[in-house]
């Protein structure tokens, strides 16, 4: 091991950054802190020992044993922590590489279907069009899943890029309502929007906020099994913009509610209903909203429906 490698290892900040962790979650920094705790404990033990115990050899022995025990304990803890961090890092790296590699064949598939559906290579019969539509929908699902996996791995690495600009959330909502309307009509679901007057714009990343609202919309529509309603509210509350989406769907069982924002979590009810979903949407939504210093939450009652909400701070400087 050369000098450069040793110095790199001693550069705790750089090492923690390479894990994508804050200092207090980083094994190397924790080991350093525990080292200081051991030294402090040894000094205190020595001070107290010399005060209350006459025999210096006994004091030395006590200090030695205490130091050894603390060292073993801290070494074990930080090593386990290090292994956990490394496993997480490798898992994120794997997801990132695989997701990226999947994008090429999925794009090929999607665009090949586009050209077949266009009719430019020959007349498309009705039955063929139906099957092409199924192929297109499923390739879009795969694209969405790969996108979500890559977003999650970037969130965990801390490398999710954001581009802030002044945007109107109301415009994004109206755009998504048009997109979901055909599906909602087909499922007998009515969508209502209640937006306040003269709502301020927020300084966020439009594309990412659209992903958040789309995820919440998707859940709301998907979990209404028969005739139902989705009510969207958008208003200013003090120094924040408040968004709410309320559905009359299946609701979330109480036992599942505390896990709802976790990665890959899907409520038993959702799985039983066989609704499609990766279990990543709400994790991504929460991460994005919190990135913009907002808050996100929900209320839900089984068989009655759910209300998901988020707030985004209004930056007065930009209004």
């Amino acid at each position: 091991m050369n000098i450069k490698k040793i110095l790199n290892q001693l550069n705790v900040r750089a090492e923690c950054r390479s894990y994508g962790l804050s200092l207090w979650q980083c094994p190397s920094f924790l080991f350093l802190i525990m080292g200081l705790v051991i030294i402090g404990s040894a000094l205190i033990a020595y001070g107290l020992g010399t005060r209350f115990i006459e025999d210096p050899q006994t004091v030395a022995l006590i200090v030695l044993i205490l130091t050894a025990v603390l060292f073993v304990v801290s070494f074990t803890i930080t090593r386990s922590f290090e292994r956990l961090v490394e496993v997480n890092r490798m898992r994120s790296e794997f997801v990132k590489i695989v997701s990226h590699q999947l994008r090429s064949p999925i794009t090929n598939l999607s665009w090949t279907i586009d050209i077949l559906m266009s009719g430019q290579l020959g007349k498309v019969e009705e039955k063929q069009a139906e099957y092409f539509k199924i192929l297109k929908e499923n390739s879009s699902r795969m694209i969405g899943l790969v996108r979500d996996l890559l977003t999650v791995s970037r969130i965990e690495e801390g490398s999710l890029m954001i581009k802030r600009e002044k945007i109107s959330i109301e415009l994004i909502i109206k755009k998504l309502i048009s997109r979901f309307k055909p599906f909602a009509l087909g499922s007998n679901v009515e969508i209502k929007l209640e937006a306040g007057e003269n709502l301020p714009q927020v300084f966020v990343d439009a594309h990412q906020i659209e992903i958040v609202i789309e995820n919440l919309f998707d859940n709301a529509v998907r979990y209404i099994k028969e005739k139902g309603e989705i009510k969207i509210k958008l208003e200013q509350r003090d120094k924040a913009l408040y968004f709410e989406i309320k559905d009359t769907g299946v609701g979330i069982p109480k036992a599942d509610q505390k896990f709802i924002f976790q990665k890959f979590f899907r409520s038993e009810k959702a799985i039983r209903q066989q609704t499609q979903g990766s279990g990543l949407g709400l994790f991504i939504a929460k991460s994005i909203i919190e990135r913009f210093d907002g808050q996100i939450g929900f209320e839900s009652e089984e068989n009655k429906g759910s209300t998901f909400w988020f707030t985004l701070p209004i930056d007065q400087q930009y209004n």
Binding site: R103, T107, N108, D114, Q120, V146, R147, M161
Partner: protein
Amino acid sequence: MAKTILFIEDESALQKTFGDILSKESYDMISALDGEIGLNLAKSKKPDLILLDLVLPKVHGFEVLKELKSDPGTKDIPIIVLTNLEAMEDVNKAIELGAKTYLVKTQYNLEEVVEKVKKALK
């Protein structure tokens, strides 16, 4: 005379798809399956537009872009980057190196990409 598009892309399926659709739009398409061939063809054929993937064998897309934009014979050819890399640093780098537009493949359907190509050629 039909406009010429050089498509530098290592996925032969995409080469075929674009070849079919662009010929229907009355464009002539030249294929290059790696960065090195792409550079040579750009310099010899002087196309009206270049569609450039970034992750390429032999010479990376960024190197191709850099060289084309520094060569007096090719610096004025508009280049549309068409890739699956969507990190902001890649987008910024491509624009700084002189790309006209940066398109992430999974964010567009085929028709939308063709519209962007037509717009760039006007």
